[in-house]
């Protein structure tokens, strides 16, 4: 049984390495050749795990081979458009100027049910509101509404909005995130000073604390009945991340 455990660990680590080297897109949005690769790697890694009689290299070498093929395919796709189109295909316009392109849909084997389903998934109930819809190479539908149905943006009414960057998490589950504190140009003493007036003795009492780019500190305690706190602790101009 120890043999099975050792083989499982080796092949699992190798699969993680292979998937990680393929980049983040591999997990979510898959191109056809990436999808095939993910399926094959899973199968190749699983087979030698359960079959003790099969040599370990029967699992390792094919994974290495797939990594070579995938790497070459990716490099060629980046450098040659023809190769990219060959491997991944191109995007297809399914709705153009509000008109469903039936021929294109038939060519892509895409049904009206699929179209309606994808639109609903994007929060669009009425197909009449859609101006353009493009079926991407990874199978996802990108839909764009007619101008009059598009949500109002601040720029539509000439409103300027302040910079909204990514909030920095300063405490996660009682642990101070020193790296984020440093990025904000703050320190632990400063953070604890902000917590005391709210009745928290230290970071261990905090479930989550984050600082947004408007200089507001969001704090949620761990204790039952703890309220959410949102306080202005920094001037907006002091925010530099």
């Amino acid at each position: 049984m120890l043999t099975v455990l050792c083989r499982t660990i080796i092949l699992y680590l190798l699969s993680i390495l292979a998937i990680r080297l393929m980049g983040k897109r591999q997990v979510g949005q898959l191109q056809p050749y990436e999808f095939v690769l993910a399926l094959m790697i899973a199968e190749l890694a699983a087979a030698p795990m359960e079959e003790i009689g099969a040599p370990l290299l029967y699992g390792v070498l094919p994974i290495l081979g797939l990594m070579i093929i995938h790497g070459l395919a990716t490099l060629l796709s980046v450098h040659f458009t023809f190769f990219r189109r060959l491997l991944s295909g191109g995007p297809s316009v399914i709705i153009r100027k509000g008109v469903i392109q039936y021929d294109e849909m038939r060519r892509m084997c895409y049904t009206t049910t699929d179209l309606m389903e994808e639109l609903r998934a994007q929060g669009i109930m009425n197909i009449a509101d859609v101006c353009t819809a493009i079926l991407e190479t990874n199978g996802r539908l990108s839909a764009f509404l007619h101008g009059e149905h598009r949500p109002l943006a601040p720029s539509d009414i000439g409103l300027s909005v302040p910079y909204e960057g990514m909030p920095m998490t300063l405490i996660v589950d009682g642990r101070i995130q020193q790296e984020h504190l440093q990025k904000c140009g703050l320190n632990e003493q400063w953070l604890l000073k902000q917590l005391r007036p709210m009745g928290f003795s230290g970071a261990q009492d905090i479930l989550l604390a984050s600082l947004d780019t408007q200089g507001r500190l969001f704090i949620q305690g761990k204790r039952e009945g703890d309220q959410m706190h949102l306080i202005q602790v920094l001037d907006e101009k002091a925010v530099h991340w």
Partner: protein, 127 residues
């Protein structure tokens, strides 16, 4: 992009090295055993039991040392066949049973050639 290129190059080199290493090791073991089995066969036919036993014992020790490495790329069942074949050959030589000794020797040769044929880079294996 450089990471991807690096991955491709490293994977390629690693695969080639592995393939060559496996091929060379397989060939080395195969040549060694073919020679040993041929010599053992000749000794059995001449009723040179002591020399044959000593030769098979040496082959057994060599196989014991090499089989864990071979298990990395050869089917484990075939390796077990050779291991048990060598043991049976040893017993039949000790008991001076010419017919069985020659039979087991032939079986070992067949099991070994099966391992190396399966591993060989041949169209038959690819297809």
């Amino acid at each position: 992009m450089r990471l991807m290129l690096g991955t491709v190059i490293v994977s390629f080199i690693l695969s080639i090295l592995l393939v060559f290493f496996c091929g060379m090791t397989s060939h080395r073991i195969c040549v060694y055993f073919q020679l040993r089995m041929k010599e053992t066969d000749a000794l059995i036919r001449k009723a040179g039991w002591q020399e044959a036993l000593s030769m098979v014992s040496q082959a057994q020790a060599y196989w014991k040392a090499q089989s864990p490495l071979l298990s990395m790329w050869a089917p484990h069942q075939s390796i077990d066949d050779v291991t048990s074949g060598l043991q049976l050959l040893c017993i039949s030589i000790e008991e001076r049973e010419k017919y069985h000794a020659l039979l087991y020797s032939a079986e070992i040769s067949a099991a070994l050639s099966l391992i190396f044929q399966q591993d060989a880079f041949a169209l038959k294996n690819i297809l």
